[in-house]
Symmetry: C2
Subunit: 331 residues, 2 copies
């Protein structure tokens, strides 16, 4: 489903990152950086993630001199079971709350839902937020990190941070121009150490449908950014687009997972992942470069492996999804 929007704009963004991301090449674009450890003064990793998300949403309101009653709705999701980081963030605000789950595709899903409330005249200001935390994700989805299990080179590294966006019906410099909501794809991949392969077909399907519905070529965009396929998933997507749709992705295509870290130096395998990977890259780096005029038309395509350990133990393959959001700078 592709929708063109009339009146949905980004008022501002706010990004917070952890120590790994603050050593990466995009660190200067983030509003707040934690550099010491992964606890941020909390006692558990789960609470540490709640801390980041609360802080991102508090700070974006403070920065824009908005009170809680000025915000109609918070739309938020994360990777914790029961999206606990978002739920426990939500209880700190007297603001209506919508909880969502599409793993690392959350930020795109949230923008599409937020935009629907604004386009329908049902809300004037909506906060869309997401977070991830390397250790909560490792603990929940992979192996207890104390085991020190070796990883495959196709594995990705879950980013730590929180990202928050205020959508508004008042004209600003960055418009949400259109969106294409993803379908659940599953091509039978069940390698939990290669989420790039799991997610590439979802990114491909969504980008293809977006370009077709909007009657655009891939070259229409100054940038097309999937996230978080990593270096191997990025290559798979290029092949997949060429083979299935005869679409050649050019130099304007990149993957957020390859941009967040210094892949040559940081121990992050195939790149970054987690809902906040796209959140940090798109709402930190890309948003700020769009404000400067570096990029005018950008298609962000956050990708999610909606991976259930229970289902994979039962020998199921891993479904995935991707949502495309077209951003346009009105400078």
């Amino acid at each position: 489903m592709t929708n063109k929007y009339n009146s949905t704009y980004i008022m501002d963004t706010y990004t917070i990152c952890g120590p790994y991301e603050s050593k990466g090449p995009l660190a200067r674009y983030f509003d707040k950086k934690y550099t010491d450890d992964l606890y941020f003064g909390e006692k558990t990793w789960e609470q540490a993630e709640v801390h980041l998300l609360k802080e991102a949403n508090s700070n974006i309101m403070k920065k824009n001199k908005l009170k809680q009653e000025d915000i109609d709705l918070i739309v938020s999701g994360d990777l914790q079971n029961q999206i606990a980081a978002s739920d426990y963030m939500g209880r700190e605000f007297n603001i209506p709350f919508i909880g969502i789950f599409e793993a690392c595709a959350t930020s795109g899903e949230g923008l599409a839902i937020g935009a629907s409330f604004i386009e329908g005249g049902l809300a004037k200001k909506v906060i869309v937020s997401t977070s991830s935390h390397n250790m909560t994700a490792e603990k929940q989805f992979r192996n207890p990190t104390e085991y020190g299990a070796p990883k495959k080179k196709t594995a990705t590294f879950t980013a730590t941070g929180a990202a928050s966006v205020i959508l508004t019906n008042q004209k600003s410099k960055i418009k949400i121009e259109s969106s294409t909501i993803g379908r659940v794809m599953d091509l039978g991949v069940n390698d939990v150490n290669h989420m790039g392969a799991v997610m590439a077909p979802a990114a491909g399907d969504t980008i293809y449908r977006h370009l077709k519905d909007m009657k655009r070529d891939a070259s229409y965009y100054d940038l097309i950014l999937t996230g978080d396929l990593g270096i191997y998933g990025e290559k798979i997507l290029r092949d997949y687009m060429k083979t299935n749709y005869n679409i050649v992705l050019g130099d304007n295509y990149h993957d957020d997972g390859t941009l967040l870290y210094d892949l040559g130096k940081q121990p992050v395998f195939a790149g970054a992942s987690g809902p906040v990977c796209s959140g940090l890259v798109n709402f930190g780096y890309i948003y700020k470069e769009m404000l400067k005029g570096t990029y005018k038309k950008v298609l962000i395509v956050p990708t999610g492996a909606i991976f259930s350990p229970t289902m994979v133990f039962q020998k199921e393959s891993i479904p995935s999804i991707a949502n495309a959001i077209s951003l346009e700078a009105l400078l």
Copy 2:
């Protein structure tokens, strides 16, 4: 946030239940009943729940002679970690998908999201679906059932089934008249065997805000239905509304959790719970009685304890949420 809608209608509903629900007093209202076991021909409970959700969404389309391309969007959520039942249902349909999580408040959340897409002219037909399965929930949230742990009388019994609704912009006999999206509430309750106490304040806050925003008395509605507070939670809500807002809920107030089973005979403690509890009661029983003219104005308020076992192990209390949806029969 309370929104009045102009153009969102229910085209049809479809409900499927399991053996416990098929022995309850509302069984005749459900479109399909499984009476034998909780597997429905699948090998695992998780797959059994996927089976129900796929079947509900396939059958509602068949019954209404709709093809996949006639549906713009599926909005779905459930109790499994990573909303796996919804994700694995989603991959069976070539339809854009939005995954949501608010535990047992899911059906109300889904209706509010679906309505926002229809009100904004972004979609013409949206399926909203949810499911729960007694054994997947027991296994994930409580104790392995083989342990035979005794339960407190305030515990509830997770319903098994799936419920599906088609929302449309074409006038029908049942209109979605308005909605109030809930805030995350947490009054410090951490008793995992008393979710009625956890959720009653969320129901109270949402009902209060709905009535205030719409300038209505509780007597405006032929029925106000929370779900799934159970018999003790229902009493707590009556007290809470009286004490906090000076609102007396009359004979028009009931809780879905007390209606689904025969509480005198079935071994279900304080009543039914699970996202499909509200789904079955509201989209089976209530919807069909509204079509007959028994009730004209109904406020449904699905309630959810957004309970994370990890957070409760870390000595946290349990947040909750409730969304109110006003249904109106146009007969």
